[in-house]
Symmetry: C5
Subunit: 400 residues, 5 copies
């Protein structure tokens, strides 16, 4: 295929630099991110309608142009300048890096100039699109990856990275100025990278791979937190707060699996593509990617098991604590209730004197014995000792 020539290039207004922050999602057991996703789905619009979501960033345009021996990197405030440079250098490979969606006109021009399908552009701008790959124009790729982050709110935050490849370029779209792609940029700058020597699909691979690599720190953060929770269970007290943390992490792991699974599917689909779309040489690298995706799934499964074990521990602890409370009650009651009976017995007022004045030797003679009180104290001590021995044998006095 010959070099690709965009069809138009009008002037663009200057780009402001205000960066609206998305409100942090409340972290809880219910999947509020999912609900938000459901709520923001546009209903009944004609397919391919482009809508800028509220809170989108003003776009910044970066262009990295490179070949085996050439490298140039710059931010353009004006789309036409970028386009002009791109058109003037068909012999170079270009990475057009669009960050921020808040300019519908710009996006429509990009769509036209680089012949991106309207449905793909809708996926770029939409709230949520699972990882996927589409082939269009016979051998161009549209790729969606999801970049994850484990936030301080114990949520998995995920942002979308969309890639469009062409004969001598890759366009990347994201609605964030900060990203996890700097390692790829550095490899390009260094000059030693294979990216410089290979086709743009290899750059798309490198970007996909780096996103996938970032799943591991996310998982490691979750794993660390699971260990924290385990320590809490072993040392502290089970309470609802702890349980809700456990369930929150469980939710995150489920969410993570929902992110990784389509990623794996995507790469498997790439591996099945014909050679004219993705060459065998590059598939070797995607195969490596595939292994990573499977291992990330494995990790998520392991964590799922860990969380389920934590739940079991938590519930067993809850039950144990009830047991402990009951044992205290039982020991105290069992010891003192009989004693109370005995002392109550000798608090009765049966009269020693019969109405006729004679002594009634049947009515509580113990009360009139000189040794009555000491003997009773001895009896009480005996009862207490007997019970203590019984409870000790049951193992209730030792710490479980």
């Amino acid at each position: 295929m010959t070099a690709f020539t965009p069809t138009s290039s009008p002037d663009l207004p200057p780009v402001p630099t205000v960066e609206p922050e998305p409100a942090p999602l409340h972290a809880g057991v219910s999947d509020r991110a999912a609900t938000q996703q459901a709520r923001e789905q546009q209903v009944g619009q004609r397919p391919g309608t482009l809508t800028i979501r509220e809170g989108s960033l003003v776009p910044r345009l970066f262009l990295i142009s490179y070949s085996d021996s050439f490298f140039q990197e710059s931010e353009y405030r004006n789309y036409d300048d970028l386009l002009a440079y791109f058109q003037a250098n068909p012999q170079l490979k270009h990475w057009i890096d669009v960050r921020g969606y808040n300019d519908l006109g710009l996006l429509q021009r990009l769509m036209q100039d680089f012949r991106i399908h309207a449905l793909h552009m809708e996926d770029v701008l939409g709230d949520y699109q699972r990882a996927k790959v589409d082939v269009f124009d016979d051998n161009r790729l549209f790729l969606v990856s999801r970049m994850t982050d484990f936030t301080s709110l114990l949520e998995i935050d995920d942002d979308q990275l969309s890639l469009v490849t062409g004969p001598n370029f890759v366009i990347s779209f994201q609605d964030d100025y900060e990203d996890c792609l700097d390692s790829v940029r550095n490899r390009l700058r260094s000059g030693f990278s294979l990216i410089r020597h290979k086709s743009p699909v290899y750059l798309a691979y490198a970007l996909t791979d780096v996103v996938l690599d970032h799943y591991y720190p996310t998982m490691a953060a979750i794993g660390d937190y699971i260990e924290v929770l385990e320590d809490r269970i072993f040392n502290g007290r089970p309470n609802r707060h702890l349980l809700s943390r456990i369930l929150q992490i469980k939710k995150d792991i489920v969410r993570f699996r929902r992110l990784v699974y389509p990623e794996r599917e995507k790469i498997a689909e790439i591996l099945r593509m014909p050679d004219n779309v993705v060459s065998e040489e590059i598939k070797v690298y995607f195969k490596d990617c595939y292994d990573h995706a499977i291992q990330a799934m494995d990790l998520a499964e392991s964590y799922r098991e860990s969380i389920s074990s934590l739940m079991d521990l938590f519930l067993s602890d809850q039950s144990n604590r009830m047991n402990e409370v009951m044992k205290v009650l039982t020991i105290i009651s069992s010891i003192f209730i009989p004693l109370s009976f005995v002392v109550g017995l000798y608090g009765m007022n049966f009269q020693r004197e019969n109405p006729d004045g004679t002594v009634n030797h049947l009515n509580m003679p113990e009360l009139y014995e000189p040794w009555g009180y000491p003997a009773l104290l001895g009896l009480l001590a005996l009862i207490v000792c007997g019970q203590l021995v019984y409870f000790y044998r049951k193992g209730w006095l030792t710490n479980r």
Copy 2:
């Protein structure tokens, strides 16, 4: 294929406007909608038998006729007029919109005039048909979609939309005057829509897509309710009412999955159809639909997990509350039962005087000491303090 010509067109009686309301289903844990579905299944009838269900609406007929440059929309009280217009305008594309089934003769004429298979017509009228697609007459489609709604009774209500395509028309059947298809009608009216320029299969796609789009608000409503339930659990008290709400939402999510899963299957089947039935160009749009269906499944899975976490929280809370009750009982009993024993001890009537009148110094001498009572009060205070320290250390006095 050439334009399609219906074969007959008798007069139809005028259409009354009474709209019987279906009795609201009782909302509960058991799936009464499923039981109703099982109960209404017609047993042993010959296939293709058409039966009007009780409570069906009197049909209203709408015709939208359009081409690239033409648009006309009208309600016909007389089927023959509609048919006449349809037959007179084979160059236009037509959307025949039938709302209400309560006229067997009309439906049979539609069946004949537009050559609809008897089994398909039975599916249209039947109580419940999963989403599905059939090809008939080589390249015509019969499509069933289910339109969902989340009612104030916390039930998912679903109505059936059946579509039949032909060379220059789409017939839609539903037993409701209100529907969720207005956005498609508006797009047609606006003139900018692709529907005006493409084949009737595209209109069928647009209708399928808008139904699928409406799954998202349903899910969002469920998601919102899950958050309400979560707040209730965290703030209020766990009771059976709350549990039955949780289980009801769980039932809804299960029901939703049963609705979406066949929808996905249906679209996957369309994507596998040969080009002469659904062209590649339109499959691109159905592919987009397919992504939406998968994401709706994903959402349902997320909510399933959330509900399961809510269940865990609920049960743990129930257990916690029992624990709290037990702790109160244990603390009160453990403090006062020993105290009662002590005071009972000094309520005994052991006699200080021996029968011979001498003083028995063994029998409860404490009672005769001037400091007896204050010392005892001190002892009691000591016991109470000891116990409070013990319980404090156990953490039973603090709020869990």
Copy 3:
């Protein structure tokens, strides 16, 4: 293939009319029907051995002969007469309806005359055979369906219907005089039925379909009972009897799924058969059957979920009742145990008089105050009020 001519026709003895009743299975949690099935499996016999199970009915023979314009229906007490009529009318289509297996000779003659495979005949007579389809003699079908019934013992009762097709006949076997096939017979009698105009395979379809249709009333009965159980849980008291009912229904649903799943498999296999066995025209009808089977599976899944929700409700209720018991105990104990201590305190016998006759003002002076008793009663009332306020705030006094 040309018309089918049986090879022999000896006389048969007259048929008695005694109908032995199978002993009702005990309804319980364990699957006694499955155990009976395991127990009755014949071990180590050569394949194709025919054995009449104990309690089988004396066979009754019915013949329905029909064509587009002809219909005749009669019961034959003599197999030879039936065979003679059958052989004399090769231009007609015949439904030979065998009810009752208790005549090995008859069955062997049927096997020979209509060339049924010995293994199929063993399946007919065996205790239990999953729904299945086999092709033999290139284009003849052997079909097994299971007819379900929901008995008053809350059991799913299922009887086997075996069908053998031939060029101009269908033989049906069942070990019951009553069945659910009357609607098919009525359709045949009416003359309007498609069965009259189509091949015997269509009759086999109609019989299969009517059996499948009867799954719905069975499911509806189960659904109704689930609602009864739900009401019991909400209104009555949870007890073991109720739990065992829930588990029994769960067992039924599992059993139902085991019945429907092979039915679906069977029809899917028919849909994959080549045209010379089952023609495309008839497959359209089996496709409809297939939809019904899938929807029956869906229903079973819904009920499974409902039963699982009922279990959750039941267990939560059990726990709630314990909670309620504990709360009563705790409230009563917490109020009266401290009161008992206080009154015990003033039941002590500390002496106001010192041994030397002087008044000891330290020993329980309250007892000698004129306002002592009223003050104490006030104190007790205060304690009670304090506790009631505490419990009210905890929400223990209100109905949960």
Copy 4:
């Protein structure tokens, strides 16, 4: 293929008749048979190494030679005699029945003479091999089946039966003198059996089938025991012993599934084999076998559900009993604790006489009323009645 001629035939030592008994496995919840299997796995040996397991029986050799019209059955104490007879009668079909493995030399000669693959011979001798089938030498089969037994220890015992087919023989290997194959021997002896007329593969089928048939009595025994457990739960008391029985049976069912599943796989693989290995005619019989295997799986699933229901009943019972204990405690405590307070109240020693000798009418005047004691008794009776009514209304006094 021509008749098969073994290559050598040396003399064999006489066979002793001592039969060592394998020590009975301890029956419990953990799967000790699995652990034993893991422990006995030979690690790091070269593949095809033959090792005689400890406790193996001294081999006994049986030869059944047959044709359509001929039958001869004998035990050989000398392998060479057997071989000589076998080689001298290539026109007959032979079943060489080897019982006991404790003679490595013999087994190696068998391996050589009948060209058995070393890996297959290793499978014969190994401790545990799942059911499987291998084709070797283009059209010979190596089959492994597992013969089950339900022991008095509530364990499923399984022994291995290995079969090797050849052009005119089947060799069966087992390490037991008793087996479940006698029905096949009897069918051979009777002369009516199809086995006499068909190829050795049919004999292999018959042996496989009879082993599979024996799964049913095993399942029936388990089913019977489940009913026993159910009765215990309904009549007796839940205790740990009962629970461990339930779990033991659950283990058996899981084990049974692990046995049957590969059996099904094995037969499915046979059904997929080309005609030159297993002819269509014999596949019809294996198809029947396949149905049996699936039905055995179905049975196991049913039992799994039953066991899970028993667990639910058991746990609910355990909870119910706790509830009952608590109710007794609560009723007794709630009735007597307030009464004790009241009587304690009137045991107080407030003085009627003021220090100045006047009567203090405020201090417990009730004690001085003539009707004091009867009134109090009435009050107590009233309290008791009130409580009984309360508890009766709660349903605590009736039997749940």
Copy 5:
């Protein structure tokens, strides 16, 4: 393919012998090994980057050279010597055994000299790679196996063994001086082994097989420990320590399945490879391997069930113990609380004398009866007996 000639061979520095020990992982419920794996994943590096992990061993190089009739085994301190010998003897087969990774230069030279793909070398050095197989250079294999060990910390420890095959050599990589491959070395030394006569792929098979064989002792150790836990539950007391052990073993089994499953996949992939990569003759051996892998999976499933049964037993025990505590409390309270009431009754101070000095016969006349006290004692004894009978009948006095 002709013999393989490495391309370069510079001198290597002498090898030190310090062996750093990896810190033992803390054994617990959470999967710390998984977290460590996630943490060590290198993010954003260019694919094929080789990094030596901290704590890697200094490499030791072993060379075993063999043919049908020749065997030589030696450790080389200098890579060039090894390479020289290898290059000088193309007619021999070689096993180059690299143990320890702590020399990047050496590994890079191996990579170059034996044409190993950079991505494979990265897999060798990486922290964790699932079992896998890759074909490269048309017919060379890259194999990863995981060697397991059950440590005294109740953890499954797994080390990686990577194999690279070539026309006349196998290179094995591991980061451990000790391994489980000695049995293969011994078989090679013995001279009888098939390895000596077959291609290097057979050696790769033998190494894979011996690793797989070692899964069985690991499983047996786990099985033994499960039996220990079962005994603990039956004899000792349930406590959290025991529960955490159960969960730990569960984690190990899950981990084991994660190890074995890819192993099975790997071998299945080998079995599907074309003949020019792995010959049919060797596939027979891999088929045997495959059976072992499936049986190891079966074992893991069995243990999973056992662990789940242990959990059920544990939880039921926990509940039982609570029940026992409650019974003791209930028995003691139920007996003594009514007794206390009775004796409290007769401790009341109702006055026998009316204010006017007459005797009040209504106020507690029992106190003045000569038989009052003995009668009361009799009453108390009666109450106690009645309660004991009641509790005995309930079965609360016997040991459950």
